[in-house]
Assembly symmetry: C2
Homo-oligomer: 281 residues x 2
C-alpha cells in the first residue's frame, strides 16, 4: 500500500512476500529444482564492501524484489538468485511460508537489541508487522504489550499470550524500556518518543512515504537510542514456523485466486484487514 | 541563543556554563567553602527511580540551571546543591574551567558509543560543541573530520590536529561510520542521515527549538542507530583540561565585564563568534 502511495518511486510488478516452486535454475543440477521455497528480497552486487562483508542487504547497488528496480512476486513466475532462496520445511504450510519475510523482519529486532525478561516492551501498531513483532518479542520472556486501534487485530496477538491495549486507553505517564514503532504512519515516531523511558530504545520499523514536521529534541534530552530495523534472518523465521512457536495463520484475512486480484486489493485496503493472499496457481 | 528563541519555554536568569567561588554552604564546615568550582546543571529530586539509579540527569522532576525552572549563572550569585559542584584543579584557568560543561557533553559521546581507531567519524558543525566533540573524539585515535561553514572556526580544530572540511566541499558519496550532528540547526539531522554509512551511528547533539518536516525512512532502510546525547562526566572533562589534552582557550572570542553584557550578546550572535564570556567580578 505504501509503494502504491509512492514509497521508493517504484514502477513495476509489486509483491515481495511469497512462496513458490523452483521450476528452472541456471545450474540444471541445482538441489532446489522442484522444491518449495521462499526468497530473500535484497539482491546485492556481490562485489562491494557490504556484499563482501555479508551485508548484501545494504549493498548500495542492490535491487529489491517488487520494491527497487526488480519486478516482484505478484506474477506466475519470478526470478531470484539461488543464493536468496530457502527451502520451506514440510511442517510449514504455504499459507505460513508467505509470512517468512515479515517474520524475519520481526526477528531482526532481536538481532539488533538484546531484549530480555527484564525489559518492558511496547509494540505500537496492530498491523501484520506489529503483531509479528509482538509475538517474536514475547519469545524472549520480556513483558510485551501490543498497542493498536483494532480490537479484532489485537485479539490475534492476545490469543497467543501478548498483553494488548487500545490506543487512547494507556495509563498516563506509563513508559517502556523499549518501544517498537510499527504503526506505518508518519506520526508514530513522535508518539514512540513520548512512550519510551529516558535512556530507552525506540526500534523504528515503519517505512512511510509521507514526510512530517517533527522536533527531535526529546531524543537528545532523554538520550534515547533509535534503531532502524528492516529485513531479517529467514532461517530463524522458518525454524520458528516449523517448530510452531508462532501461529501466523490467524493473520490471513482471505485468499483470492489471481482472477480476483482487484478484490484482494480492495479488501487489503479496509481497516480491519490483515494479510490478504493471492493464489497464482 | 536557542533558549532566547523559545527552546524549553524558559523564563528566568540564563546561563549554565560558569566558574565561581563557593561563598556559603548549608554545612558551614563544607570543604568546598572558598574553593573555585564548576557545577553540574541538572538537579534531580533525589528520590525517584532515576535518582536512586544514579541517573539524576534524567529525573523527570529535575530542574536545570538556566534552562528548566531554576535561575542560571548570569548573575553575581547562584545556588546549586553541594553534590553538583566539582572543585577546579589549580592547573585549570577560569577561562578553561568555563568549558567544563560543554566539554563534558562532548565526552558523553565516548561514554555512549565505543569509538576506536578503526572508525571514521564526521562531526557536523563548527560551533563550540562541534569543535569540542571533534577534539574529544580525536583522543580515541579515530579518523575524525570536522565539517563546518566558517574557516576561522575550523582552524581552531585544525590547529589541534583534526581534519576539517568546508560544507559543500565534501567528496561525493563519502560516508562515515559515525556522524555527530552538532550543527544546532533543524536541517542537520537529514544531512547526517545522508552522510552515515548503512548500519552506522548518528550521534544527535543539537537541541533545536524549531520543528522541521522530515522523512525517517532512511533510518529504517539503512538500519541506522541514532543516539541522543546530552550532559556528560564533569570529572573526565576537568581531568582532560588539567592534563592539557585539549586546549579550549582558542574558543574564547572575547570576555566582557558585566556592565557590557548586552555587547557580549551582540557579539555572540555574530556568525564568526565562538565562546563569549561575561565576567561578574
Amino acid at each position: 500500500m505504501e509503494i502504491i502511495k509512492g514509497y521508493q518511486g517504484f514502477r513495476g510488478v509489486l509483491g515481495h512476500e511469497f512462496v513458490g516452486v523452483v521450476e528452472s535454475a541456471a545450474d540444471e543440477a541445482s538441489i532446489l529444482l522442484g522444491k518449495r521455497v521462499v526468497g530473500e528480497i535484497n539482491i546485492g552486487c556481490g562485489e562491494c564492501e557490504y556484499c563482501r562483508a555479508g551485508l548484501g542487504n545494504h549493498c548500495p547497488r542492490r535491487t529489491v524484489l517488487g520494491i527497487v528496480e526488480r519486478d516482484g512476486a505478484m506474477a506466475e513466475y519470478l526470478t531470484l538468485p539461488v543464493g536468496n532462496l530457502h527451502e520451506v520445511p514440510d511442517e510449514v504450510s504455504d499459507e505460513e511460508a508467505v509470512f517468512t519475510e515479515p517474520l524475519a523482519a520481526a526477528f531482526e529486532i532481536t538481532e539488533q537489541v538484546a531484549v530480555s525478561s527484564n525489559h518492558s516492551v511496547l509494540v505500537m501498531g496492530d498491523g501484520k508487522l506489529g503483531i509479528l513483532s509482538a509475538l517474536v518479542l514475547g519469545l524472549t520472556g520480556a513483558d510485551v504489550t501490543l498497542m493498536g486501534k483494532h480490537e479484532n487485530k489485537l485479539h490475534v496477538a492476545a490469543a497467543q499470550g501478548v498483553k494488548t491495549v487500545l490506543l487512547g486507553e494507556m495509563g498516563e505517564e506509563e513508559t517502556y524500556d523499549i518501544v517498537v514503532e510499527a504503526t506505518g504512519s508518519a506520526g508514530g515516531f513522535e508518539t514512540a518518543l513520548s512512550l519510551v523511558r529516558p535512556r530507552g530504545t525506540v526500534v523504528l520499523k515503519s517505512t512511510v512515504a509521507e514526510s512530517r514536521e517533527m522536533n527531535l529534541a526529546p531524543i537528545v534530552i532523554n538520550e534515547i537510542t533509535v534503531i532502524g530495523s528492516r529485513c531479517g534472518p529467514f532461517d530463524t523465521a522458518l525454524q520458528a514456523l516449523a517448530e510452531k512457536k508462532i501461529d501466523v495463520t490467524p493473520l490471513v484475512t482471505e485468499t483470492f485466486p489471481v482472477r480476483d486480484a482487484e478484490r484482494a486489493f480492495e479488501l487489503a485496503r479496509k481497516k480491519g484487514s490483515l494479510k490478504v493472499l493471492i493464489d497464482f496457481r
